[in-house]
């Protein structure tokens, strides 16, 4: 009996202690949500680790795959446990429209809006990187059926006769619809005008139909190099940094095809109603400072969104970025307003199409 009481008291004390440390953590920790894999790792090395060392604020990392349902549910239920979140452009716009992202006060970020790339300083998102959706193949494991030829254009990606084999594609409509139209002969400057019409959408889906049976769909960015590396696909769409890191860190012989690279930005955003607004802004200010931002390119081949960060980047890193002139010859910029308006509706149509 006596002993039981003692252990009860101890357990109670431990529980109280836990509560106390939780309360203390709440003051000096923030939760930063990002896309996982090589990308999260680059953020950890470039921002999180030095930030934690400098300020003592603990950064708790979480991963997601870009779905906005969880954010909306958090804000609607008033139980916001994420603070800073790395979002794509359509989420940054939709989050503003639907009120689940905080409007950014650029004075508190400490950087003037005009220092960011065009389209980089949104109302609810501060651009952090410039990345590109590209596709790649494994030069170390070329299929015999290709007869020594290698794909060089987006049209080749859709050409099952010339380049047979499975292809990896992102399990979302983004870029897939654009590339389908480009492969079907639409000029990259007109892609979004065509996509805004019902016939254009039908045309894009019809083109995707032609390769549908040969597509392996990936959901998280890290899966793309994985599928290519283990030979499950002969070519795959991917975010350029993911392919680059597999080459650099794992010795893979992946070749990036830069044709019609889809240039896009990722943004830092703040969850509406976070109890740690000040801490979130402090992190945003740190991560948006040019000298800090320049560090990230050393860990993944994404470009900085801040004009002043570019001079800090070494020459040998610059050539692998999506913004290098030789990579940009056929590039197009992803139309954020198109996807902000249509990502949900097209996502539904895309999923219905997938299920058939």
């Amino acid at each position: 009996m006596q002993r039981r009481n003692v252990s009860l008291v101890l357990a109670g004390a431990a529980a109280l202690g836990l509560l106390a440390t939780n309360a203390a953590q709440a003051q000096d920790s923030i939760t930063v949500v990002s896309w996982g894999g090589a990308y999260s790792e680059s953020q950890r090395k470039a921002y999180h680790e030095p930030y934690m060392a400098e300020t003592g604020v603990k950064i708790i990392e979480e991963e997601y795959t870009g779905d906005i349902a969880k954010m909306r549910a958090m804000v609607e239920s008033g139980n916001v446990t994420w603070d800073v979140i790395d979002v794509d452009a359509s989420t940054a716009l939709a989050g503003c429209d639907q009120g689940f992202l905080e409007e950014i006060d650029y004075d508190r970020v400490g950087q003037p809006k005009d220092k960011f790339v065009v389209g980089g300083a949104l109302d609810c998102g501060v651009a952090t990187i410039v990345y590109a959706t590209v596709y790649g193949y494994d030069a170390g494991n070329l299929p015999a059926e290709w007869n020594g030829q290698v794909p060089t254009t987006v049209a080749d990606f859709f050409d099952l006769e010339k380049f047979p084999g499975k292809r990896g594609l992102y399990k979302k409509p983004f870029i897939n619809l654009e590339w389908a139209l480009i492969a079907d002969g639409v000029s990259r400057d007109d892609v979004y005008d065509v996509l805004r019409t019902e016939e254009g959408l039908d045309r894009a889906f019809a083109k995707l139909d032609t390769i549908k049976s040969s597509v392996v769909w990936w959901e998280a960015g890290a899966q793309a190099p994985e599928l290519l590396g283990n030979g499950e696909v002969v070519m795959t769409q991917a975010w350029n940094g993911r392919l680059y890191n597999a080459v650099k860190n794992e010795g893979k012989q992946f070749v990036i095809v830069w044709d019609n690279e889809a240039v896009d930005f990722d943004y830092w955003a703040i969850m509406k109603g976070t109890p740690k607004l000040d801490a979130a802004y402090a992190f945003l200010a740190y991560a948006s400072a040019p000298e800090n931002m320049a560090r990230q390119s050393q860990f993944i081949a994404y470009g900085p969104s801040h004009a002043d960060a570019i001079p800090h980047i070494p020459q040998d890193v610059l050539k692998d970025l999506p913004t290098a002139p030789e990579n940009m010859t056929t590039a197009f910029t992803v139309d954020a307003s198109f996807w902000g308006d249509n990502s949900e509706a097209l996502g539904e149509r895309f999923n219905a199409w997938l299920a058939q």
Binding site: A69, E198, D341, A345, E348, A352, A355, Q356
Partner: protein
């Protein structure tokens, strides 16, 4: 007749009537019983009954438009649906849209309309932005001019339907039905229908897996039951080892095994059984193989424990009476294993209906079961209505199957040992 006197209430030594004492004792016993049952009862209530209730409710609950467009909802209640409504309704619409735009809620209205009319979302957002700029009426012409969608009767039928608090829409949509412009229910055209196929697929995959586990599990269970204890226990440990390993781990193991350059393909290729590597992963074959492996112990263990309880003397008696080995097995032994088969198969079948992670990792886009769509709606699209309706249909289908099963096999015959 009256010679049995009505007995006076028995009074105990302490002056309390016996009846009262018995009642008290009974009450204490009841309280104890309730006390013992209460934790489980509360747990089931909180973790099972309430969530299921909320799900059933959410599958018909559709409050967004009623809340965001109160004026339009009120104005439309009088409307008979025969022609495009008049100015007062348009005024209500314009005012509602203006308020929604200010409160940053217009996208929510668009989202709801987009469930039924593709492309309505962006049109509504544009209309709301437009409405916010309008100072005064008349609204009707201006609104229709900005977007001809508002001059169509279908749009207004949709608005009238979706401003009601409760809707059958999610159920209709889950069964590939929809409303046409005149509010009549029609089947979704061939190219857009999804869910009927998925429900049929879910039942088909679950049935196949259940049968396969039975075909594989029954002989093994029989072997385990007749082998000497030492050997049987060794084999049983092997079965249990896989049973104890997490579902995710076993699925990932199959992911590795089934790859185009994985061990199974390597074996088939290098031994010359196949000329070129075959697609195993992201196929129906892969899904069923992995699910069968994962479910095998669930079918096997109940059969095994029932078999352990069957006395060997029954078969011996049959043999001594002249039955051949197969006849004795089939007519004497097998019928006694039925309760175990019934329990194992039901367990596997019902678990299969809810499979999510295995089809999504080793299956292709056309091998996904209904849970994938529930997850898609709940976690990716925040569409609780569709998620709940699909879940409810699955629940009802499961209950109906259970009922049929009960009629055919009899739940009371089901035994786990």
């Amino acid at each position: 007749m009256a010679n049995v006197a009505v007995a006076a209430p028995a009074i105990m030594v302490d002056g309390v009537p016996l009846k009262l004492k018995l009642q008290r004792a009974e009450r204490v016993r009841k309280l104890k019983a309730i006390g013992l049952v209460a934790p489980l009862f509360l747990f089931i209530l909180v973790s099972f009954a309430i969530p299921i209730g909320v799900m059933l409710f959410n599958s018909i609950y559709d409050p967004d438009l009623g809340r965001l467009m109160p004026r339009t909802a009120a104005a439309l209640s009088e409307w008979d649906g025969s022609a495009v409504p008049d100015e007062p309704v348009f005024e209500a619409l314009a005012l509602d849209l203006r308020d929604a735009q200010k409160a940053k809620q217009a996208a929510l209205i668009g989202r709801r309309l987009n469930y039924e009319v593709a492309g309505a979302r962006s049109k509504l957002i544009a209309s709301a932005k437009n409405a916010a700029k309008m100072e005064s009426g008349p609204y009707k012409e201006a609104v229709i001019e900005a977007d001809p969608m508002w001059g169509e009767i279908g749009t207004w039928n949709l608005l009238k339907r979706s401003t009601r608090k409760y809707t059958p829409f999610f159920f209709l949509s889950s069964l590939d039905f929809r409303y046409d412009a005149n509010n009549a229910i029609e089947t979704v055209p061939e190219g857009e229908a999804v869910y009927r196929d998925v429900f049929v697929r879910t039942l088909l995959v679950s049935t196949t897996v259940t049968l396969l586990t039975l075909v594989l599990g029954f002989p093994l269970a029989y072997l385990l039951a007749i082998l000497p204890a030492r050997t049987a226990n060794m084999l049983l440990i092997l079965v249990l080892m896989s049973f104890w390993t997490s579902l995710l781990v076993r699925t990932t193991a199959w992911f590795v095994l089934l790859q185009t350059n994985g061990p199974i393909n390597d074996f088939l290729f290098y031994t010359g059984i196949v000329g070129e590597r075959i697609q195993l992963i992201f196929t129906r074959f892969g899904t069923i193989t992995a699910m069968t492996h994962i479910q095998l112990p669930f079918t096997l263990l109940p059969i095994y424990s029932v078999m352990k309880g069957i006395s060997p003397s029954h078969v011996r008696a049959a043999r001594s009476l002249g039955a051949g080995p197969f006849y004795a097995f089939w007519r004497v032994y097998f019928p006694q294993t039925m309760p175990g088969i019934a329990a194992g198969c039901l367990l596997t079948f019902i678990l299969c209906l809810g499979y999510y992670i295995t089809p999504s990792l080793v299956g292709g886009p056309t091998d996904q079961l209904i849970s994938t769509y529930v997850a898609l709606f709940v976690s990716a699209q925040a569409n609780w209505g569709m998620g709940s309706a699909l879940g409810t249909i699955l629940l009802v289908a499961t209950l109906i199957l259970f009922f049929v099963y009960n009629r055919l096999v009899g739940v009371e015959r089901m035994r786990l040992n």
